[in-house]
């Protein structure tokens, strides 16, 4: 049986937009020397493009990203296909149950310890643009609880799951979806693309940069698919 890699991370060019709260687009600074030599540095939010988040993102003294073992973001994943999803739609338990039924129709089920990948195709259309965060579909708090109750080891999304943070002036206590998931010790992988190319189950990998003592790290997520 042949296998292939599906890249699940978006390309991040100069100016690629991160979250509005930081108001930073990716800014590369490329240093050069005569002859040929270059070395780039970058100014960006670590919540830009594909990245992994740990509890410290919204829980005081929570787990920092360097405390998340790689095995927690690598493993067998099932895809919860929520498509079609409208802009700014609120994804609730009934939507997740429908996705679970789709999975069952393909003779697949959620297993304890799986990685759950939530597919809306929103990032495919909008990530890196100014509308990605404010117009994204989101999860309800109940939906987040439903996901946690399935006892996954990791959750990945191709949309921005926190509806309260779409609007300016949000407060930390409104970060309920993140809080529900991250407080359960489940790392979040955000900014995924290309989930449309995955079968109902695949091997998922989200290796990430090993920054110390902070809440997030850039990732290059991919899947291995058996053909």
């Amino acid at each position: 049986m042949a296998s292939r890699i599906v890249d699940l991370s978006p390309l991040v060019p100069q100016g690629f937009k991160g979250p509005p709260s930081t108001n930073i687009g990716v800014q590369f600074e490329v240093r050069t020397k005569p002859g040929y030599w270059q070395s780039a540095q970058v100014l960006m939010s670590l919540h830009t493009g594909c990245h992994v988040e740990s509890a410290l993102h919204c829980i005081e003294n929570g787990e920092s990203i360097d405390q998340v073992d790689l095995e927690r973001v690598i493993g067998s994943a099932v895809i919860l296909d929520l498509t079609p999803v409208a802009e700014r739609a609120l994804i609730d338990i009934s939507d997740l149950e429908r996705a679970q039924e789709r999975l069952a129709a393909q003779n697949e089920t959620i297993q304890i310890g799986d990685i759950l990948l939530l597919r809306t195709d929103w990032a495919q259309r909008a990530i890196g643009t100014p509308v990605y965060f404010p117009q994204s579909p989101g999860l309800t708090e109940s939906a987040a609880r439903w996901l946690v109750d399935r006892r996954p080891k990791c959750i990945g999304c191709d949309f921005f799951e926190e509806p309260a943070a779409r609007e300016p002036g949000w407060t930390a206590d409104q970060f309920v979806v993140h809080r529900t998931i991250l407080s359960a010790g489940i790392p979040l992988v955000e900014g995924l693309v290309n989930l449309v190319e995955l079968p109902p189950r695949c091997q998922f990998f989200a290796p990430f940069y090993r920054f110390a003592g902070i809440d997030s790290a850039l990732a290059r997520a991919f899947a291995i698919v058996e053909d």
Partner: protein, 239 residues
């Protein structure tokens, strides 16, 4: 008789208990785990399917089976899956814990000598005397007690391979039923039979404790072979 309609069998561990010092009830958190497992089973039911719920002869598996029944029944009603025939839970001896014999009595393996002494007729052996029995001494001295039984070559009763074979034999015998409609057996049992089964028929090693309310899933196909699935592992056992 060969299956003409799908037969599925699930070995499911009971919901969370506070400890294994005896046959304790399922915790509130455990009840929630079971409800969720029921929702997941309900999502996979096939129209026309008959669902039988079995439990081992213990309180925690019985409670689990009844909560599971309630959860599946509710979901079936909500989803108007009236075509599914859900049977009341019944006790079944085939999915019991290993038969272990101490001083002429079949006992359930428990986590303390005091709890084991309570299973014996009065004045048979004290906890101190039980702790001197070689198998029990090793069992209670090991952090992974069930792993000790699974790997033990000569326990005082059924060994792991015998229990694993008992489970598969039971499941395979269901093919003798007239399978004109899809049939599913959800069998609530304990971690020792599940670990024995996984080691013998799927993994070839002991994976350690399943999570509470976690399942091993078997699906039989027309030639009598069986697809076994647990977490991300799967294997076909020929009929």
């Amino acid at each position: 008789m060969k299956a003409t309609a799908p037969l599925r069998v699930h070995w499911m561990r009971h919901g969370e208990v506070v400890s294994h010092r005896g046959d304790l009830p399922v915790t509130e958190h455990g009840k929630r785990q079971i409800e969720i497992a029921g929702q997941q089973f309900a999502s996979t039911l096939i129209p026309g399917e008959t669902v039988a719920l079995l439990h081992a002869p213990t309180r925690r598996t019985q409670e689990t089976a009844f909560i599971l029944h309630e959860s599946i029944a509710k979901l079936c009603n909500d989803m108007q899956r009236s075509q599914v025939r859900l049977l009341e839970p019944v006790e079944h001896w085939a999915i019991r814990n290993p038969d272990i014999y101490i001083a002429g009595t079949r006992i359930e393996l428990v986590s303390s000598a005091e709890a084991l002494a309570e299973q014996l007729p009065p004045s048979t052996l004290s906890p101190e005397e039980l702790a001197q029995i070689s198998f029990l001494h090793g069992f209670w001295s090991t952090p992974d007690r069930i792993g000790y039984w699974v790997s033990h070559p000569d326990p005082p009763g059924e060994d792991a391979d015998t229990v694993a074979r008992r489970l598969l034999t039971f499941a395979t015998s269901l093919l003798d039923l007239p399978l004109t409609q899809p049939l599913r057996y959800i069998c609530v049992t304990h971690s020792p039979p599940m670990r024995a089964f996984l080691r013998r028929y799927l993994l070839e090693y002991d994976p350690g404790e399943p999570e509470y309310a976690e399942s091993i899933n078997l699906e039989f196909v027309a030639d009598g072979s069986c697809m076994i699935r647990y977490r991300q592992e799967r294997r076909v056992v020929k009929g």
